[in-house]
């Protein structure tokens, strides 16, 4: 490695050219891995937005904070009982419960259900949760050990950590499980019915309030799982949720709000675009790229890639 500088300066131009192409491809592959890992987390968050939106037509701006809470709770639990599966399950359950409490205390009592009011309430909820997390965990970052080893794996010309595979694998499992739940179980079908036509759903005896609660529980759980998966790569800190939440929402809109396939596609696309942009264009404008894509989608095709009419 130390000698690569000399290798590049080889006099014959053509081998260096081939070498360059290989290196460029390797770099592209590396960007892709990084982008897909982040994208998988965005996808989980985007789905969380979608589930709540379908059930209630609310956008929960506090979704990102569930991600942060998942990560930090798992870290705290792991410090108490150093067994990762327990920390994962425990933290996900705790955040799920919190999602239910949030719905009960912050959203159910609201009488004026205009988007403006609901946006402000959930933004307030996000700020509040972040502030409370800061008081509880302090302002420092914490480490969560990777699920299995930290030795990098070589995948062709690129390298990745076992944790990258964990993120992609568990995210895929969760997404598949969710899809199965919505398609195959009675409760899942009832939730979908509520999304299509709440009045009709109520007429046929589906408990709408219960479905709303379930949607908050599911999306909090998804967010928490995303936070725990990514924490070994990114560390856990009280203010990690805001940006993740916004990116997740951008992904949801990019794919089409309310469409689960769209959310996944949007998340992966956004992650890869960001990674390519910081690798190929300028790393300083990484976040700007994500939001620029969002603006373009909103202005040109607000229903997103796979969404119906908004």
């Amino acid at each position: 490695m130390w000698g690569r500088g000399r290798g590049l300066a080889a006099p014959a131009p053509s081998p260096a050219g081939v070498h360059d192409t290989v290196e460029t491809l390797a770099a592209l592959f590396q960007y892709l891995i990084s982008g897909l890992t982040n994208g998988a987390i965005y996808a989980l968050i985007a789905l969380g937005f979608g589930i709540i939106f379908n059930a209630t037509h609310i956008i929960n701006f506090a979704q990102g904070e569930f991600v942060m809470l998942g990560a930090l709770m798992a870290i705290s639990l792991y410090q108490a009982v150093p067994w990762l599966p327990a920390a994962f399950v425990g933290a996900t359950l705790a955040v799920t419960l919190l999602g239910l409490v949030f719905e009960r205390l912050a959203l159910r009592p609201v009488r004026d259900r205009s988007p403006l009011t609901l946006i402000i309430i959930t933004v307030g909820g996000a700020v509040l949760l972040k502030g409370l997390a800061m008081l509880w965990w302090g302002k420092e970052a914490y480490n969560l050990p990777p699920f299995s080893g930290a030795q990098p794996l070589h995948l062709g010309p690129a390298t990745l950590l076992p944790q990258n595979l964990w993120v992609l694998g568990v995210a895929a499992l969760l997404l598949a499980g969710l899809e199965a739940f919505f398609r195959l179980t009675l409760t899942g079908k009832a939730m979908r019915a509520c999304a299509y036509n709440p009045v009709a759903a109520r007429l046929v005896g589906i408990p709408a309030a219960r479905m709303v609660q379930l949607s908050f529980a599911l999306s909090a759980a998804l967010g928490a799982a995303g936070g725990i998966l990514i924490a070994p790569l990114t560390l856990g800190v009280y203010d990690m949720g805001t940006m993740l939440g916004l990116k997740g929402f951008s992904a949801a809109i990019l794919g089409g709000l309310g469409s689960s396939l769209g959310g996944v596609l949007g998340g992966l696309l956004l992650g890869v675009a960001e990674s390519l942009a910081s690798g190929l264009i300028s790393s300083g404008y990484r976040d700007a790229v994500a939001f620029f894509i969002l603006l373009v989608v909103l202005f040109v095709r607000p229903q997103g890639l796979l969404g119906g009419k908004p």
Partner: protein, 382 residues
């Protein structure tokens, strides 16, 4: 019983001298503005703790020139509007003799027009060179933090000694990183060093593999990362993930136990310039700073049950320099200012200070040593 106690107290007061017997002496008010919450709280918290600790130490010893100290500390949250308002409050309402802080370059820049106009000495705890430069225009402004120029100088000296002449730099998009980036690019030619890659990252970014992948495709022989908070630890992890074997050099912003903890295995072998606080037990006894550092660390541990950080050291030096000047010159603003400017051979936490009308910082690159992380501990690298 009560009568006896009262007469005892009375006797003590009479013995203590007329100043005590009449009304209690007016305290010297010292202001503090730190980023205690918000993104730079890792600076503000130890700074506030240190200042409070020192002031109670002085008061326990009877204050300065027989007058107690009173410290008023405000939190600017890294927000320039708040920093500005707090400075006005300290000057106008609390009648502070001098102000210690703010913690950051941009908050210091927002405060100094006010303190200059009010002729109140400001001893900033931030790193930016522009705070005290040019000193002729910034008569009332001093600072105790080492400037980035010194850290860069230290790193480049080290690289030159080890014949590493091509570096990649990876800097954070905050005042700290931008100032580091400027110094890294400006000083490189003097040391015969070439910057072959110049990448940046956001303060809260969590994945720097794209930037490092780009660096991997350059002939860089070392990566220099300039950042604070959790991001430098993520850079270390990402570098390991990419299997890059070239040395990683961090800035003094990573010189904390927390960094070692966050980086874990990926931290091993990382080099960085640091104030001597992090390695003081291994300093030779002849080093004049050793005793000062030990005293500060022990006192801080006793008071807050946590190790002292070099950031808190900025407030330590500021308060000590101010106290020295107060002892010498008293509270008259012009005399106090001149006394601070005349600080010579003050042995502090961040180095040995020699201020002058041209230099309101007074430190030299020797304030830094290169350290290496070895088995989870900082060790002297040279």
């Amino acid at each position: 019983m009560n009568g006896r106690l009262a007469s005892l107290v009375l006797a003590a007061l009479v013995l203590a001298g007329p100043a005590w017997a009449q009304n209690p002496p007016e305290p010297y008010v010292i202001g503090g503005i730190f980023s205690i919450t918000g993104p730079a709280s890792y600076l503000g918290e130890p700074e506030r703790n240190t200042l409070q600790m020192l002031v109670s130490e002085y008061n326990a010893k009877g204050g300065i020139k027989g007058r107690p100290l009173k410290v008023v500390i405000y939190d600017d949250e890294g927000d320039v509007t708040k920093a500005r308002l707090h400075a006005e409050k300290l000057i106008q309402k609390d009648k502070a003799l001098a102000i210690i802080g703010p913690s950051l370059t941009h908050t210091s820049m927002a405060v100094l027009p006010i303190t200059q106009k009010a002729r109140v000495p400001l001893i900033s705890c931030a790193a930016g060179i522009e705070i005290t430069h040019p000193a002729a225009e910034r008569q009332w402004v001093f600072k105790t933090a080492q400037t980035d120029a010194m850290a860069v100088n230290r790193i480049y000296q080290y690289l030159k000694k080890h014949n590493l002449s091509q570096v990649a730099i990876l800097t954070v998009s905050t005042g700290f990183g931008v100032s580091g980036r400027k110094q890294l690019t400006e000083q490189a030619p003097q040391f015969g060093i070439k910057v072959v890659a110049d990448e940046v990252f956001g303060e809260k970014d969590t994945d720097m593999t794209p930037q490092l992948t780009k660096i991997r495709n350059t002939p860089a022989q070392a990566v220099i990362c300039w950042g604070t908070g959790p991001a430098p630890a993520i850079v270390a992890k990402n570098l390991k993930q990419l299997g890059m074997k070239i040395p990683l050099i961090q800035s003094h912003g990573a010189a904390s136990k927390k960094f070692i903890e966050l980086a874990g295995d990926a931290g091993e072998g990382i080099l960085l310039p640091a104030g001597k606080l992090v390695i003081y037990p291994s300093l030779p006894d002849a080093d004049p700073q050793k005793a000062v550092l030990a005293r500060y660390d022990e006192a801080y541990r006793r008071a807050f049950n946590a190790p002292a950080s070099s950031f808190g050291g900025y407030a330590y030096d500021a308060m000590k320099i101010l106290a020295q000047a107060l002892e010498q010159a008293g509270p008259d603003p012009d005399k106090l200012r001149a006394a601070i400017e005349n600080t010579k051979n003050y042995v502090g936490v961040s180095g040995v200070f020699n201020m002058s009308p041209e230099d309101h910082n007074g430190l030299s690159p020797e304030a830094f040593v290169m350290v290496k992380i070895d088995k989870g501990e900082f060790k002297l690298a040279e």
